[in-house]
Symmetry: C2
Subunit: 269 residues, 2 copies
């Protein structure tokens, strides 16, 4: 199953929750801290107990890079724990000149074998194309992000009347000849999602900002449902993986994921 098929399969099953493995040693259950590699054990437990009902896993590279070479090993280990048929996202937010992007692509797609990556649009087409040339992998380009700073540049009005993030969406559609592009679109403000959803066309959308950052799962799902679009991934991290810190935390995580999936199903039926 290639990366596009993995994602299509998840959407077909009505799975839209992407589990963000933003694993922080200070937030995992206390009883795991005596393990030799607490983060690896925690991630493995989360993955094993959720993969049957998850649409995707997103690994935030910063949480691993902060530990240097050791962290990179943890990242590799965690990647290997994710079953082959589940879609994976390298949340690395890269973007550089061509020969450099080529090496980042090599790291993420060849070495770590991720299905997709998040990318900064700022440097333009040729900074993205080394990633896009992996025609069987996907690239989620940052359009509107879920943080306050989105107002500083992303929402600036251009001379042509578009906001900058809308121009990003338009260009991404133009560049999508291999049908392997998607967008990151923050779900913190429902109005913005409603106003822009028709622009997405068939691009898969990765939505941060639900849960800990304030967006509502039900509102987001209803909005996609109302526009007949089911190509979206809602990233949830802190609101799922740290839902409990007891020895039975895994049961709570499973229940929480199941509740999310039920809410989605209820809206989609």
């Amino acid at each position: 199953m290639n990366s596009k098929e993995k994602l299509a399969t998840a959407f077909k099953k009505n799975y839209h929750i992407c589990i963000g493995l933003d694993t922080d040693i200070n937030k995992i259950p206390e009883f795991l801290k005596s393990e030799k590699s607490p983060i690896s054990v925690f991630n493995k437990m989360i993955i094993e107990s959720t993969y049957e009902c998850a649409a995707a896993y997103k690994i935030n590279f910063a949480f691993y890079e902060q530990e240097g070479a050791k962290g990179y090993e943890l990242l590799e280990e965690t990647r290997k724990c994710i079953p082959e048929n589940i879609f994976t996202i390298a949340d690395a937010k890269r973007g550089d000149i061509g020969n450099t992007s080529e090496m980042y692509a090599k790291a993420v797609f060849d070495l770590l074998n991720f299905d997709s990556i998040t990318l900064h649009p700022y440097m333009g087409n040729d900074s993205l194309s080394p990633f896009l040339n992996y025609v069987d992998r996907l690239c989620f380009i940052l359009a509107l992000t879920s943080n306050k700073g989105a107002i500083d540049f992303e929402k600036l009005e251009l001379a042509n009347g578009n906001l900058l993030y809308q121009e990003v969406i338009e260009k991404v559609k133009l560049w999508n000849t291999n049908k392997n592009l998607g967008l990151v679109f923050g779900a913190t403000k429902l109005e913005e999602l409603k106003e822009n959803i028709s622009r997405f066309e068939d691009l898969p959308i990765l939505l941060p900002g639900v849960g800990a950052q304030g967006g509502s799962l039900e509102d987001v799902v209803s909005t996609f449902n109302n526009s007949g679009n089911n190509r979206f991934l809602i990233n949830i991290s802190r609101g799922l993986i740290y839902v409990d810190s007891s020895r039975e935390f895994i049961n709570k995580v499973k229940m929480q994921l199941s509740d999310f999936n039920k809410s989605i199903e209820k809206i989609n039926n």
Copy 2:
């Protein structure tokens, strides 16, 4: 000596060449390939033979990340080879939401002990502030980059009449309360540098694009000199570290760096 002082010392000596350690195993001299760690040996030789006449070293993270955990170790080793009094740049082009940028900052400033980092502006102020909070380190924000794709977003005209990269420059100046911000500004088109140099004020400028990418060293130096600005670093990588591939390559690298420095001095006198 803190990071700001290191940079000021380099400028005082009229040193402006930043050596880009974009080290590629396929491009280093053949005779080094039998070494246990050819890239480490090559980088160490380059650093030991140039540090007395270099303004800074810039390490391009992609070249190391492509090797995974092993690459990260190489990056750590190379960082440690650079003498404490020489300014270092982590060319990592990061930028993410606050809690994530905080971890990237921790990796680059605490763990790897770089003096500065390159950052994507797209996500705005709060994506940069975790880096800026390291008040003794510097952050070079991408304004205009040296690649073709700069035309796609960076050069878009805004409703207020500025081009996007000019808006980045204006905001960077507003956010520079700790006096630890700088800009990346591509040197491939001289006219753009001339048109914008008065906007830089006291921000240090990192210029890619000279040499392999087509910009002229003399033109760039003259432009800064004519506007009475000496706060600039010209990054040279391929045009210096791969200038020769014989067993005597180090002598050629030294000569090349000396030639660059002489050209700069000639213009500045």
